[in-house]
């Protein structure tokens, strides 16, 4: 019998090496339910690598990560299939985590409405603007129902109104005990987020 997965995110003494190069050493962080963490630092400081370590798509060279069971990750790539519509793209990802098809549809519709892409529901992803693609990818995160959101530059390509719209979305997720770890070069409507500064190295 294994212990139940932790409800919060904790990482200790992480070391990240990619392609033989040390990206960062000795990074520790903790995010409690309802909290948010903003990762900052210059280009190349390892913000995206840190998020990939937390998401589990990269393995740390050293260190421990405890994470909740269900995670949603927004990377640089939106993972949208151009030939599929917004609905088909969202429903696939929602369907992987949802107990039933109806539940997946409900989650996807609610998520699309929250980020303002509901009017584009039946539009193939190849016809979307880059901001609309980003919002569809954000809707995928919302529809995942995951406790932990890892958002790598979530506002790339978004207009001011869309960024503002994320404020209540983030607040609602945290009010429900959700956690957010985000990187951004532009201000994010995250409220009272903790800040983790990664040191840059050339």
């Amino acid at each position: 019998m294994t212990a139940s997965p932790p409800l919060s995110l904790r990482a200790e003494a992480l070391v990240c090496r990619r392609g033989g190069r040390t990206v960062f050493t000795d990074v520790s962080l903790a995010v409690a339910p309802g909290a948010a963490l903003l990762v900052t630092g210059p280009n190349g400081a390892g913000k995206s690598s840190l998020l990939k370590l937390l998401a589990g798509t990269l393995r740390p060279e050293a260190g421990v990560i405890e994470r909740p069971e269900r995670i949603a990750y927004l990377g640089h790539d939106n993972a949208l299939k151009p030939v599929l519509t917004v609905a088909e793209n969202l429903l696939f990802w929602a369907g992987l985590g949802a107990p039933s098809r109806r539940e997946a549809l409900a989650r996807a519709e609610a998520a699309a409405a929250a980020v303002g892409i509901a009017p584009l529901w039946d539009v193939p992803a190849r016809l979307l603007s880059s901001g609309q693609k980003r919002r569809t990818a954000l809707a995928r995160v919302l529809a995942s129902n995951a406790a932990l959101w890892l958002l790598d530059e979530p506002t790339v390509g978004l207009d001011a109104a869309s960024v503002e719209r994320l404020g209540p979305v983030f607040a609602r997720h945290r009010a429900g005990g959700g956690m957010i770890v985000a990187t951004s070069h532009t201000p994010l409507p995250l409220g009272d987020a903790d800040v983790l500064e990664l040191g840059g190295r050339a």
């Binding site: 392609g19 798509t57 995670i71 990750y73 790539d77 993972a79 299939k81 088909e88 992987l96 995928r140």
Partner: protein
């Protein structure tokens, strides 16, 4: 976990359907390659009759290679592979889903078209049955071997050529036993060897392909 594989296969089929054309290219290629042989070796019925199963097998093998380059590449490039890992899918089940989808969308249509090819090449009707049986049993191995090569070449520029170089030597046993099934004397034992070769390929390839994908994600 098997529920996840079915969902993934369903998505692959939906994508192939939405993109159209992709599957038809392999079919047309299959017919064209097969019809090159009568031009090259001459149209004597006696010659064609003897080599028809071999021609069909070589054509099917080459046609199967066509779609392999796009098997994992788009998913690796657009972040889908990462998302699948984050959402708890194992790379092994991703690989299995891709193999099944490749077989359903590329190999199975070739098998269905085989009677037409066989008629075109003057293959005796008596061998049609064994030919189809051999193809049905052997092509899953081609999809399996192909998916390993596709996974290993994710992120390699001009990986398509490399895929061919990797797959063709590994497909030789399948080719030998597959054609052998149509041999009136040694058919039965070739069938067993073909089944064994396919089983081995199916058992090993999900893990090999997953290892290749894992390396590509670093």
């Amino acid at each position: 976990m098997s529920g996840g594989v079915f969902t993934l296969v369903g998505r692959e089929l939906a994508l192939v359907w939405a993109e159209r054309g992709g599957g038809a290219i392999a079919l047309i290629f299959f017919v064209i390659v097969g019809s090159l042989f009568p031009f090259a070796v001459g149209p004597e019925p006696q010659v064609l009759l003897r080599i028809a199963p071999g021609i069909i097998w070589v054509s099917a093998l080459l046609a199967c290679l066509l779609s392999l380059e796009r098997l994992f590449q788009p998913d690796a490039e657009d972040g889908t592979l990462e998302q699948l890992v984050v959402s708890g899918q194992s790379l092994e089940s991703v690989a299995v889903a891709k193999m099944i989808a490749h077989w359903l969308t590329t190999a199975l249509p070739l098998v269905i078209l085989t009677p037409i090819m066989a008629a075109m090449l003057n293959a005796p009707v008596e061998v049609w049955g064994t030919l189809l049986l051999g193809l049905l049993l052997g092509t899953p191995a081609l999809s399996a071997i192909g998916s390993v090569a596709a996974a290993l070449t994710v992120g390699v520029r001009r990986g398509g050529v490399l895929i061919s170089l990797l797959v063709l030597p590994l497909a030789v046993p399948t080719l030998i036993f597959g054609v052998g099934v149509s041999d009136p004397l040694a058919g039965a034992s070739a069938l067993k060897w073909l089944a064994a070769t396919t089983l081995l390929a199916l058992a090993v390839s999900p893990f090999a392909a997953a290892a290749g994908l894992r390396a590509a994600m670093e």
